[in-house]
Symmetry: C2
Subunit: 258 residues, 2 copies
C-alpha cells in the first residue's frame, strides 16, 4: 500500500521527528511504500494567495475560491500544490502528524490544507440537487482512502477528557477529522495522541512506539470513525441538518457519529 505522511515540526531531533522516523521505518518494514511531505524541510509556503496560480487573477480582484477553481481546471496551479495533490491521489492512506499548537494544527500544515485543497479537487466537487449537496462528507475525490492523525501535546490526558478544561480531544480534533479529512472523502481512523510530552523518558517512549506500531500495523483493518455520509439520508437537504430520527435530541459534534 502507499502511505503519504504529511509532517509538521520544525526540529528533526524532536519527539515528533523520532515518531515520524519510527512510523516510516515500521511501514516500510511491513512492505508499504511511504512518501513524506516534511513541510518545514520543504519550506512550504503557508499563506494562500494569488500567487498560488501561475496565471493572473481571472477577475479584477483575487477570489480564493474562483481563482483556485480556474487554476485547478486549467493546469495553472503553482507546482508545489500540484505535486501534493498527486501524492494524495497516489496514497492509499494519508497520515497527518503534528504537535497540537493552540488546540489545532500548526500554521504551516493549515496552509498545506488551504492551498492543496483546491476548488474542484477537495471541494466544489459533484452536483447539487434536491437529493445531493455535492460530493462531500464521505464522498469526493479522496473517497476510498484512509486517513489518521498522529498528534502530540504537552497537556495531560485528563485536561482533554470529557470534562477536562481544554475540551475533549475528540471535539478539538473534530474540525480536522470531519471538516478536513471526511469532507473530501477519507475514511478517518481514530487519532493516535501522545500526552504530556514534557514527561517523556525512554520507557514511555518505548511504550508509545509499541502502541503506535500496532496502530500502523492495523491501518487497513481498523474501523473508521462512523460519521454519517451527507447524501445517504441522515441529513435534510438543503438545510443539511440531521433528520429528526438520527441521534434524536442530540446536538453538537458527537451527534454526527453513527
Amino acid at each position: 500500500m502507499n502511505v503519504l505522511l504529511v509532517y509538521a515540526h520544525p526540529e528533526p531531533r524532536s519527539l515528533n521527528g523520532a515518531l515520524k522516523d519510527f512510523s516510516v521505518a515500521r511501514l516500510e518494514e511491513s512492505g508499504h511504500t511511504v512518501q513524506v511531505s516534511d513541510l518545514y524541510a520543504m519550506n512550504w509556503k503557508a499563506p494562500l494567495d494569488a500567487s498560488d496560480s501561475v496565471s493572473p487573477t481571472i477577475g479584477e480582484r483575487f477570489d480564493p475560491s474562483l481563482d483556485s477553481k480556474h487554476a485547478f481546471e486549467n493546469g495553472l496551479q503553482s507546482e508545489d500544490i500540484a505535486l501534493e495533490q498527486q501524492k494524495l491521489l497516489w496514497a492509499d492512506t494519508v497520515i497527518l502528524q503534528f504537535p497540537l499548537w493552540w488546540f489545532s494544527m500548526p500554521a504551516i500544515l493549515k496552509g498545506w490544507v488551504e492551498r492543496v485543497y483546491a476548488y474542484g479537487f477537495a471541494y466544489g466537487v459533484g452536483e447539487h440537487s434536491d437529493a445531493r449537496w455535492g460530493d462531500r462528507y464521505g464522498e469526493g475525490t479522496l473517497a476510498g482512502k484512509r486517513a489518521m492523525l498522529i498528534v502530540t501535546t504537552g497537556g495531560w490526558e485528563s485536561h482533554y477528557g470529557p470534562r477536562g478544561i481544554n475540551g475533549p480531544i475528540d471535539d478539538i480534533l473534530f474540525p480536522i477529522h470531519h471538516g478536513i479529512l471526511y469532507y473530501p472523502g477519507f475514511d478517518v481512523l481514530p487519532p493516535f495522541v501522545t500526552y504530556q510530552t514534557g514527561k517523556m523518558d525512554e520507557a514511555r517512549y518505548k511504550t508509545t512506539c509499541d502502541t503506535l506500531g500496532q496502530r500502523l500495523d492495523n491501518l487497513w483493518t481498523e474501523p473508521p470513525i462512523p460519521f454519517h455520509p451527507q447524501n445517504a439520508g441522515a441529513y435534510e437537504i438543503p438545510a443539511l441538518t440531521l433528520r429528526d430520527d438520527i441521534a434524536p435530541g442530540k446536538a453538537g459534534f458527537a451527534a454526527h457519529l453513527g
Copy 2:
C-alpha cells in the same frame, strides 16, 4: 479606548476587506483609536521556527517552548513578534477578523497566534501549586482586555446550527474563543458571524453593516461568554476536570460555560 484589529484576508477588495474598513471607520467615529495588523499586507511570516529568536537556539536542538521563553525573557525575539506583543498590551479590545477556511482561521493568522503568543507572554505565566495551575483561562497577561471574532463563511447558518452538518458554530469557534483568547486572559464576546457570503447583495451588506456597527458600539458593555475561570474553584487541580457539582452530568465544550 484602543482597539487592535488583526485581519487576515488576501484581497482588500473583498467582503472581508469592506467589513474591515467599515469597522475601522465606525470605531474611529466613536472616538476610539484603532490599529490594524493586516497580516497579508504585512507579509506576516506564518511558520514558527528557530529564526523567531535573533540568538542561536539555547540547546543543541530547537525547542519551540524553551527557545520562545528564552527569547521573550531576554529581549531576543524577532522584531515582528515583539511589535505585535506591544500592540496587544496597548489594546483594550482585540478583534480577530477572518474568513472561516476549513473550519478554522487562515494559516497566516494561526501563525500570528503561534509566534506572538510567546512562552512567558501568553502561556507559562504564573505559579503552579495545589490551588493554581498557572495564570491562564481567565487570568494572564491579557486579563482585563476584551476580544471578539468577526468571521465570514460561505455555508448556510443551518449548516452551522445545533444539528447542522458542519457542527455548531459555537463549538467550531470554541478552540479559538476558549483556547486562544480566554487562555491568556481575554474576556471573550460572542462572535459576529456572516453566513452565505456568496449571496451578498447591497441590501444584505447594509443589514450586515448595521448589525456589526451595533456590536462595535457595544464592545465595552456587552456581557462576555461566561467561561469558568480555571483557578476559582470550578476545576479540580491538577486534573483540571470540572468539579462534579459544576454542570453535573454534562461533557463537551458547552460544559465550560457558566
